[in-house]
Symmetry: C2
Subunit: 219 residues, 2 copies
């Protein structure tokens, strides 16, 4: 449904301009934004990317908070003005009716399971450790916080490794948006001090994803 409306927008683009295109507000430094960028590329969707600089406070302006009171990116906006936040909700919306979201209800629920796992049990450890280390430069004042992320982060990686030793992708042998969501911060987990070389299956899975047609690397 999304894809067909995008296709209609594309077909009419020269006549009615680009205003019917879906807008994505994002910051390339954020893995949550990169998820959306990767999905858009893999599905060859045409969207308009609007650069937001988190560190400059772009998500805290009155104008942005009117769009998303939670002050977070990525944010999707339809041509009629309606907005959608939460990276994984955006993935699910853009992947609707595509091969990256199973039509079987239980398989789809397993995709949801991994997406919630990502936001609750993976991102708060691995992405936050990466942010403290890579963007804040691991100041002494955050060292205890940084160290406290280790146990949860390795637990999340262990759970992924266990699944990926049974199936090629997280929800079986077909790739889904769950793999895109988990790939985003997993493949750069070393920025947060996590040793990925101890995970054979995760490395195999990372390679599988990086060989896909239309794959784009994190900027």
């Amino acid at each position: 449904m999304v894809i067909s409306s995008l296709n209609s927008a594309l077909a009419n683009e020269e006549i009615i301009g680009a205003s019917l295109m879906i807008k994505i507000f994002g910051d390339f430094k954020s893995g949550n934004c990169y998820k959306v960028q990767l999905l858009v590329s893999l599905l060859a969707l045409k969207t308009e990317w609007i650069d937001i600089d988190i560190l400059k406070g772009d998500t805290k302006t009155e104008g942005f908070l009117d769009l998303n009171p939670n002050g977070k990116i990525p944010l999707l906006q339809l041509d009629d003005g309606r907005v959608l936040s939460e990276s994984n909700a955006i993935l699910l919306y853009l992947a609707d009716q595509s091969h990256l979201l199973p039509s079987d209800s239980f398989q789809r629920a397993k995709v949801f399971q991994w997406l919630f796992f990502e936001q609750y049990s993976h991102e708060p450890y691995i992405a936050v450790a990466r942010f403290i280390n890579k963007y804040l430069g691991l100041p002494d004042s955050r060292l205890a916080d940084y160290e406290s992320k280790k146990e949860g982060g390795y637990k999340a990686l262990d759970i992924m490794e266990q699944q990926l030793s049974k199936t090629q992708f997280l929800v079986g042998d077909i790739m889904t948006v769950a793999d895109i969501a988990l790939y985003a911060y997993t493949h750069v987990a070393e920025d947060g001090g996590f040793e990925l070389n101890r995970y054979r299956e995760i490395n195999r899975w990372i390679n599988d994803i990086e060989r896909l047609p239309n794959y784009v690397a994190m900027p």
Copy 2:
């Protein structure tokens, strides 16, 4: 699809026994488990509840970790042995094809948005503050942690209040599983020290939910 297979199971129950029933492993102390209990009641689904005691370590046994390596409840198990974790993924699975999950793809994406908001921006503040206060008895060693939850918890409640001043439920004027997920820890937020009396629309919404047919209170 789920409901029709449940109905088939029900129709055959007397002949083939209850073994085809969906099992839910849960602990009544957990708001994440209560979400599932409330949904099951509202949709009048027949499921088998298996009591788990978190505080006694039931989720850390080898047998339970075989079912869910993340060691968390609620956990759903189909009669063929397949399992599904993450409370909000379970809600989405059980509500599939019901009136609590919109068929329109954008409306459904808005449900997803609120479910991810709940797990990332609400539960880690409000549910954790409640746990420290109500179940751990607010020991001095956790006081700083408890206080650190205030800002995020009130921000989440502010965002809900803003939405509920525009629409009757979180995703418009029809109730969805997003309301069930957010209701679970919001209506007991005072256990975590949050003053709910300052939120007129949240209180109105809580009353709307509590007047629904088949509503069950949190044990």
